[in-house]
Point group: C2
Chain length 198, copies 2
């Protein structure tokens, strides 16, 4: 499930493997219409192939979605941890780093953000558990930083704060387009920092 010779070798190459093409196209379609409303034929057509060809690369449509969501969660968790580690011991700097990271991710991968919190429910119990665990660990990264910034606050409060900030930043996909990316990044960053301390 975790080891894929393909993706390790040329995942983001100029000519990504069919597998990667499919995952990307599927993410886009899932974000637009919802995973349940997208047929296997649609995904195939998006990469110039018929529907059943998908099964040469994935065990099932659900497996596709599962891999997609697990990857996102892993990228977020790894990235978040890295940001905190790289920001030194200053909690304020850590928060800024986390926010910048999340803003960048959300603006750079609107489709993934959308799918992640819309289609989590479509996963099998086992897969959903796995994704939720990764998400929780990512949230804990934030909670730890927020707790250091506001010691008297309870953990529950910090968690709620973190979720609210996610909501703020991840709202991007719903309002995309009107502002160019740098301006949007700037605005979201300022808003998130203000909200995180309120």
């Amino acid at each position: 499930m975790t080891s894929e010779p393909d993706s390790a070798l040329h995942a983001d190459a100029d000519r990504p493997s069919r597998r990667e093409q499919i995952l990307r196209a599927a993410a886009q379609l899932f974000a637009e219409r919802g995973s349940r409303a997208v047929g296997v034929d649609d995904v195939g057509a998006a990469v110039g192939v018929t529907g059943p060809a998908i099964y040469r690369h994935f065990a099932s449509k659900d497996a596709m979605l599962a891999e997609m969501l697990v990857r996102i969660s892993e990228r977020l968790l790894a990235g978040g941890a890295a940001q905190v580690a790289a920001a030194g011991d200053d909690a304020a700097a850590q928060l800024r780093a986390l926010i910048a990271f999340q803003v960048d991710f959300a603006l750079g991968n609107p489709a993934l953000i959308t799918v992640q919190d819309r289609d989590l429910g479509a996963l099998s119990d086992a897969d959903a558990r796995r994704v939720r665990q990764l998400q929780r660990r990512y949230v804990e990264e934030w909670v730890a930083v927020l707790a250091r910034l506001d010691p008297p606050a309870t953990t529950a409060t910090c968690r709620a704060r973190a979720h609210a900030v996610f909501g703020l930043i991840n709202s991007t996909p719903h309002s995309a387009g009107r502002l160019d990316r740098p301006a949007m990044a700037d605005l979201l960053t300022r808003m998130a920092e203000a909200a995180a301390r309120a």
Copy 2:
């Protein structure tokens, strides 16, 4: 489509009409699993009837969803406009009123909030247009207030700000439970006000 003798007469009575029961149960189920993953039989079972009985009250499953979303949008728009009107001429007070209103709505109707932005895509083009128009008018309510509070800001910026604040407040459903409602309301209100001006 808009006139319903039933709902006008005893919509929120102690014993709501079957229609209302169905709409409520459906909202709950749709929020939990997504409208596409919920069967007509599930909705029926939730109110103690069989699936096809639904068709005595709604033309189709889609019509159910449509009515649900239109109603939410209308409630938000009407409520928002009322809040602004009642807050007098002070833009800051208007913003506070809008935030309090949205926070209250989100905490009081988490299922509706979830369904509204997850299942909009499942509507027919005509219905989707109608809902989006109502939503846009509600957003404009916010944009007008935000513009008065920060005159140099462009309309696009204000719109982005409004969407971000919605994201912040509406994140509630995803993090519900850990904090009791008054505490959550307080936290979200403070965060939203801080974010709206950043």
